[in-house]
Subunit: 183 residues, 2 copies
């Protein structure tokens, strides 16, 4: 079976409890979005494909005129999810506009390049704070499954590390004289 990584996000999300496309999107936005996002434009077509492949099963959960289909994982779907989890991860990408700007900052004065570092640092600190505030609810949500909390804490730590790096680079840019005159 050859599925996109986004297909596995969906499989994983419905493996915990049956969910509608809307609920999957909300779950992704609240959890994996920081290292793997998914849009409606991916989710709905993928739900159809997975349903046709027999990996998930749609269950009507309409209320009155409000149509809704919740999808549950099947035995085949669970097997496929486990297979994927056991295969080594491949994709690992990053897009950081701040680093890109820093890379080309030679045409600016150091005092200007420092601004990029300050913005990056603020963003990372803010994100770390936001993620940290999610810890309690994540810990309560599913105490038997510690992996989401582990990943969440990893996110906090990463963002704090990044903020610290920005701070150190800022200091380095502002005192270049020491290295220069010593040797």
């Amino acid at each position: 079976m050859d599925l996109s990584a986004t297909a596995y996000v969906i499989l994983g999300m419905v493996s915990r409890e049956p969910r509608s496309g809307y609920e999957i999107k909300a779950a992704v936005d609240g959890t994996t979005r920081f290292f793997w996002a998914a849009s409606y434009g991916q989710i709905y077509p993928e739900l159809k494909r997975l349903s046709e492949a027999g990996l998930i099963e749609g269950v009507d959960a309409s209320q009155g005129d409000r149509k809704r289909t919740r999808y549950a994982i099947t035995a085949d779907g669970t097997a496929e999810l486990k297979d994927w989890l056991r295969r080594p991860p491949e994709t690992a990408e990053m897009r950081e506009e701040g680093l890109l700007k820093l890379f080309f900052s030679g045409v600016l004065k150091p005092a200007e390049a420092v601004e990029t570092l300050r913005t990056m640092r603020q963003r990372r600190l803010e994100l770390a704070r936001r993620l940290r505030s999610l810890e309690p609810e994540r810990a309560e949500a599913a105490p038997e499954d510690s992996y989401p909390l582990m990943v969440l804490r990893g996110g906090v730590e990463f963002n704090e590390w990044f903020a610290d790096w920005c701070e150190r680079m800022e200091a380095q840019l502002l005192e270049p004289a020491i290295e220069e005159g010593s040797s």
Copy 2:
């Protein structure tokens, strides 16, 4: 002016010296690819657009029947690049399939989830080693412009931090008993 971030990568790359599309691709692959990639499918159309907008200028550098156009940045292009560098960075994304797998690893036994962490760790250590080996040539290439080297070293540090995190999480997964029985 409203340009894509990839357009600025191109502007930045030709601001150092005139380059062909092929040379830009090679330069990106050797440097910014780790936090901002660019494909031929983006580069060639973008070179046309930037040329039409007067931000870069094509200079014929053909040799015999082998056609080649090198692009140099114009005064307008330099102004546009600096403007962009002074604006705060926006995009910051990450796609890490390993973290995604870890997130859903509750359906596996801990001994299996550990494999994902081990693979991630190995990949990060290998990348850190590869980046570290580029430091000398990067330092020599343009001693007057320290930013590329700063970013490169940041990459080394980031990958080493990540590898270390994987190692710690692995240890945590293999000895969960201590926490359990203490309180």
